[in-house]
């Protein structure tokens, strides 16, 4: 039995309170004139009905295959569950493989500004210790209260109109592990993206055609900074997302920022389903409080 740290209990209580008062929000990734695709390295700031199946990555002698499913409970409040299979085969070491720990991540949208294409969300990422295979998963739980945001630059003046398709998303969290041997850490990640759809529809019609206009070139990054000063590690991931009507496809390279982060360039790819669009009158609606 794991006991939640006091900070995590407070964070969960705050999220529940905010969920009760959260205003109804729109579904997957739309705010104002902006559509934010679901990023694959950074958890995006929307509480939505969506499924990522699979997310496949290969980096530094490790191959992961994961799934994540997010379900809205109230408008603006969702719970995400995720799990993955890990296969580690470092040179000179025995192969280790098995399922990673289950992750449960409730999140609630706190603030939306359609005019400024801005959203602020808070959440808790709970890696449930002991639910995965002993060979690859930690026995102790990790709790990470997180703040997430998204900002589109559609409100820039005419003189900067070609920067309007730009958007950024980011997350900052404080990871508290139950294992006394593991240091706590700041987990920070983000994405800088340029929407060709926004360029085509809101700035200048470049006659891209449906295939190209639904592309979003982006650069994501994900870093971990232990509080014991042992050094920041992470990757920078340039790539592309193609957003269709019901699904999106994404692929990114994974480039380590330093030697401690890993060796060589890896990749990550994902097939993502917009459940709210696939099943708008059943599985894609919030359980409580959704419109018809």
């Amino acid at each position: 039995m794991h006991i939640l740290p006091k900070g995590a209990v407070r964070a969960a209580a705050l999220m529940l309170a905010a969920a009760i008062t959260a205003s109804p929000g729109q579904a997957h990734g739309v705010i104002g004139q902006r559509f934010f695709p679901a990023t694959i390295t950074t958890d995006d700031p929307f509480a939505a009905d969506e499924l990522a199946l699979p997310t496949v990555s290969r980096f530094d002698h490790e191959t992961d295959v994961e799934f994540d499913y997010s379900k809205t409970i109230f408008p603006g409040f969702a719970i995400e569950v995720g799990m993955g299979h890990v296969n580690i085969h470092a040179p000179g070491e025995p192969r280790a493989r098995g399922f990673d720990n289950l992750e449960v991540s409730p999140s609630v949208e706190l603030y939306r500004s359609p005019a400024h294409e801005f959203i602020l969300t808070t959440g808790l990422e709970w890696e449930v210790g002991g639910t995965g295979s002993r060979s690859v998963a930690e026995r102790s739980s990790t709790y990470t209260p997180t703040v997430k945001f998204g900002k589109g630059f559609g409100d820039l003046p005419d003189s900067l109109k070609y920067l309007r398709p730009l958007a950024v998303t980011g997350t900052v969290g404080y990871a508290m592990t139950g294992a006394t041997s593991e240091p706590r850490s700041i987990e920070w990640a983000g994405a800088v993206e340029y929407s060709l759809l926004y360029l085509q529809n809101n700035v200048r019609d470049e006659s891209f055609g449906r295939l190209v206009s639904h592309l979003t070139p982006l650069v994501e990054f994900r870093f971990s900074s232990p509080t014991d000063g042992s050094g920041t590690t992470g990757t920078i991931n340039p790539g592309l997302i193609w957003s269709g009507k019901y699904i999106q496809l994404a692929a990114e390279a994974m480039i380590p920022v330093n030697r401690a982060s890993g060796h060589g360039t890896g990749f990550i790819a994902q097939l993502h389903f917009y459940i709210d669009d696939l099943f708008p009158h059943s599985l894609g609606r919030p359980i409580f409080g959704g419109h018809k």
């Binding site: 729109q26 739309v30 004139q33 559509f35 700035v203 200048r204 669009d277 708008p280």
Partner: protein, 113 residues
């Protein structure tokens, strides 16, 4: 057992669904500079629309330009225009798809003297 699961998943995916209505094509398009004033604004979306959808065309001072009756048919919004003078015009649209998801957008086109 696995085949049954797969068949069920495929049946679910084949079930009727609708999605956010994103703008697929506009005429005149965003950023277009025209030598001749357009007779209408036509917007084509990625999904069928509800009648609550709409479009407004504003002149450079922010006043609404009078249009004829706006028609919404299937995935198309069409607004007939009276003859526009030279200047910049802003097209402001909102779309309500058949599953009640709302999207919105705006862009500018220009008519040269």
């Amino acid at each position: 057992m696995n085949l049954r699961v797969l068949a069920c998943a495929l049946a679910c995916l084949a079930a009727p669904a609708s999605a956010h209505a994103f703008l697929d094509h506009a005429k005149p398009g965003a950023g277009t500079v025209l030598q001749v004033a357009p007779g209408s604004v036509m917007l084509l979306f990625s999904d069928d629309l509800q009648p609550e959808s709409g479009v407004t065309i504003l002149d450079s001072s922010g006043h609404s330009v009078g249009t004829g009756r706006v028609m919404i048919t299937g995935n198309c919004i069409m607004a007939p225009l009276r003859r526009l003078g030279a200047g910049k015009y802003r097209v402001v649209w909102h779309a309500v798809s058949m599953d009640d998801h709302r999207t919105q957008g705006a862009y500018v086109f220009e008519v040269k003297p």
